[in-house]
């Protein structure tokens, strides 16, 4: 199925969890936070939350800033 991650289209398999997506993005070790369709998804639920077709995801982290 087709989703959007940080504004870019992406194909993922049915039933993929947010956790799995993060791993797939190579961000397993990076502290990140995730919004799905503008709602924050607490880390505790990343495993249990399955993506749906058309989901819009925002994956954010800390960068240098003042």
């Amino acid at each position: 199925m087709r989703i959007q991650v940080n504004g870019e289209p992406r194909e993922v398999a049915e039933e993929t969890s947010i956790r799995a997506l993060i791993e797939a993005l190579g961000l397993g070790a990076v502290p990140v936070a995730v919004e799905r369709n503008h709602d924050l998804v607490p880390r505790a639920l990343h495993e249990a939350t399955a993506l749906r077709d058309g989901d819009q995801l925002e994956v954010v982290h800390f960068v240098g800033g003042g």
Binding site: L25, V30, V60, G64, G65, G66
Partner: protein
Amino acid sequence: MSEATPELPSADLLHIGAHTFRSRLFVGTGKYKDFAETSAALLASGAEVVTVAVRRVDLSARGEGSLLGFLRERRFTLLPNTAGCYTAEDAVRTCRLAREILGESLVKLEVLGDPKTLFPDVVQTLEAAKILVKEGFTVLPYTSDDPITARKLEDVGCAAVMPLAAPIGSGLGVRNPYNLAIILDTVKVPVIVDAGVGTASDAAIAMELGCHGVLMNTAIAGARLPLTMASAMRKGVEAGREAYLAGRIERRLYATASSPLAGVLGSKHA
């Protein structure tokens, strides 16, 4: 301060919400040449609190992680900001994400009024602050040097107020010490000067007014020698704090001799 004099309590600590700090210099982590320069400058500054921004992961780039790893390993207190937000809604959303990343609820609230001055939108800042405090955040809001707004931010439960000295990155120093003095008279929470400092004496002046800390980024990162400026700022903040605690002499238009008048040879005036 590193070494206190015998005249002072052994430690002069800064308390913000549940946090306690020895250093009163807060520094940003943006605009450095590279990671090596960033980390060296942070260490030279002696800062304990460093700001970070919340941004989308760049899925095309890689290996960005080094900064955060360094900051956590060295036990810096992270202060995520909402830089780039122009509405209360965006700022609140950004703070929630920030808290989710590491589970810490300390945030620097920054709601901008326009991209040219980067002055705060105090109305939106107040709205966002109310919501964030309710949600349990420890809120450090960037604000104007208006004492009324500072008092309202305290009233809604902010843990400190962070008035600007001058526009972000302008390097103009403390433009209006009178307003800062009035803010210090008006609120009980710590007052951290945020933005506008250009050189070490600017930081010292802010501390001599009685401010509790100074936050800066461009003044260090943009200097010709950032590590040297980081050290200068560390000393400037400490110098200003110590001078404030020491109680300066009063200003007088006329002179007072510093050598004894008695026993001078042959002077017509002695």
